[in-house]
């Protein structure tokens, strides 16, 4: 559709028909005091001058030149060149959500392939077309569980779930009649199963939302937890870094009912926190309560393979206030980046990438543990991040690292006040042996 503005002649003609002199007269009912004066804007800069200005401003950002060991939900991974090269194709980059969906076969196909890739990774039966991010995926999973267990009113959430995800869950559930109970972690940073079990006995539990690897990078022992939940008729909701599925048990093997997370580790740059893409997968029997949309494969009237939006009738634009959720959209472009990265690595590549992340983090963790006056938060299995405890104020350590151009990790006291002087350190495949050695050297000097 072209946009052609009205000519002066047309404007005059229209004004004549309605019997006024100027467009401003249309707004004469608005008191002068409420009208905004036309802002004074100078001539601005030329293209060249503008670029220079932006370059100089960008130079003030020192952060990108630092070595970052920050994780906690957003991970620095190498983005294969094929990802931006495919995502920047204008058919994908500039297209809006397909309203006349079936006319956009290419878009539907990439969503279908994305869903298939996430199902393969998690082992789950169905995946939706994607959600905003890991946090909203957790919140939608909770709402979905509440719809599935309408006769119960208590939701258990692990305290080792990413605290930022938890904030979003709280916001989503604020106006719902649901009782949220925190399940603490024990001294090893793992789910306190005795507390969990005692709440399960009430019989009023909708489900349990946990994260593994949890916020501390610790891999939870989920099999017995899953069994206990099933015994008590409660649903198991699990948030996971999808890369961890490369080497750890799939959600299917753990008998998870709804598996969610953020696919950022596959193909998406840190980009100051977004846009990312949330995945939501579940068992087939729960598909009717899944939020958002699903792309399905079918055949057209001539028997040719084609793709359609399925289960769309439950969405907000059709069901209004009775919609399954108010999510009528998905993160198609970010989901495409995830898909391309997963396909590029392939089955074996994903496993190797996960293993490299695991090993590099272990290398740093083990060497840190040899340094006197530093202790590890736990001796459990961790995946690409872990927690280090210091007996000196963390601020001093942070500043020695920063002097050397390193962001050594996330201070946990901000999220868990009782975890003082604890640092969450993330190591991905992007860190070299030299970088890790330098980290150790600075840490030794700082103590």
């Amino acid at each position: 559709m072209d946009f052609v503005s009205n000519s002066d002649f047309q404007i005059k003609e229209m004004l004549k028909v309605i019997g006024i002199e100027s467009i401003e007269e249309l707004f004469s009912d608005i008191p002068e005091s409420l009208k905004m004066a036309k802002p004074k804007i100078d001539d601005g800069l030329s293209e060249f001058e503008g670029l220079e200005l932006m370059k100089n401003l960008a130079k003030k950002n020192s952060f990108s030149e630092r070595d970052s060991y920050l994780g906690g939900g957003a991970y620095e991974h190498y983005v294969p060149a094929i990802v931006p090269s495919i995502c920047s194709k204008s058919e994908f980059l500039t297209s809006y959500t397909p309203y006349q969906a079936e006319a956009s076969q290419g878009m539907l196909q990439i969503i279908f392939e994305y869903q298939s890739a996430l199902c393969a990774l998690t082992g789950m039966d169905v995946c939706n077309a994607s959600l905003y991010d890991g946090a909203s995926a957790c919140a939608e999973a909770c709402l979905m569980a509440m719809r599935l267990k309408k006769d119960k009113n208590t939701l258990l959430i692990s305290e080792s779930l990413n605290p930022l995800y938890r904030q979003v869950v709280n916001q989503y559930l604020k106006s719902h009649r649901v009782n949220i109970i925190d399940i603490p972690f024990d001294s090893a940073g793992k789910i306190a199963t005795e507390t969990l079990n005692s709440y399960l006995l009430s019989g009023n539990v909708i489900g349990f939302l946990a994260q593994s690897p949890n916020f501390f990078g610790t891999v939870e022992n989920l099999k017995p937890i899953s069994e206990k939940l099933k015994e008590n008729g409660a649903l198991f909701l699990l948030a996971s870094n999808p890369l961890s599925y490369g080497i750890f048990a799939s959600a299917k093997e753990l008998d998870v009912d709804i598996a969610i997370g953020d696919s950022q580790p596959f193909g998406l740059p840190l980009a100051f926190g977004g846009p990312y893409v949330g995945y939501l997968t579940c068992k087939n029997e729960f598909v009717r309560q899944m939020p958002g949309r699903i792309v399905g494969e079918t055949v057209d009237s001539r028997g040719k393979r084609g793709f359609v939006l399925t289960l769309q009738a439950r969405e907000q634009h059709i069901r209004r206030e009775k919609a399954t959720s108010n999510i009528c959209t998905n993160q198609a472009l970010a989901a495409l980046a995830t898909l391309v990265a997963i396909m590029w690595y392939g089955k074996k590549g994903v496993e190797e990438l996960a293993l490299t992340n695991y090993q590099k983090a272990c290398f740093l963790k083990e060497n840190i543990s040899k340094i006197p006056r530093v202790t590890l938060f736990n001796s459990e299995t961790t995946f690409n991040e872990f927690v280090v405890k210091f007996d000196t104020p963390l601020e001093e350590i942070l500043s020695s690292f920063r002097k050397n151009g390193i962001e050594p990790g996330i201070s946990l006291s901000k999220y868990y006040p009782h975890l003082e002087n604890c640092l969450l350190v993330t190591v991905t495949e992007t860190k070299t042996k030299q970088q890790l050695d330098k980290y150790l050297e600075i840490l030794q000097g700082a103590l």
Partner: protein
């Protein structure tokens, strides 16, 4: 058999137990039905309030309870064959049976002739 303005039908089976479904006109308007969400057995419903949902390929429509009462049974066949609502809306495609709490509510409903002429 009695009908509502919102295209449900109700038929007394015995005493105060009745069968409920949607009219032929309703299924024609909805088109191919792909999923039927039925109420839980034992649930109390109120006349005029949502009691079930019919999903067709392009829309989802609420089915309102023609009378108040308690859900006694549901048509289990619809979970695997929702198309029964299209093929036999006023017989095999029934939705649920209900125990009426107030038989007088039936008097407010239309008979078949009145319902059919209301559609014209």
């Amino acid at each position: 058999m009695k009908f509502t303005e919102t295209h449900e039908w109700i038929k007394i089976q015995n005493d105060n137990i009745a069968v409920v479904g949607v009219s032929n006109h309703a299924q024609e308007e909805l088109g191919e039905i792909v999923y039927v969400e039925l109420p839980q057995i034992g649930k109390n419903v109120q006349a005029g309030k949502e009691s079930a949902v019919l999903e067709s390929t392009k829309a989802a429509a609420d089915v309102y309870a023609p009378v108040s009462g308690k859900i006694i049974s549901i048509n289990q066949e619809l979970s695997s064959s929702p198309e029964l609502v299209n093929a036999s809306p006023e017989d095999k495609g029934w939705l649920y049976t209900i125990e009426l709490s107030n038989l007088k509510e039936l008097d407010k409903l239309m008979d078949k002739d009145a319902y059919l002429s209301s559609l014209k």
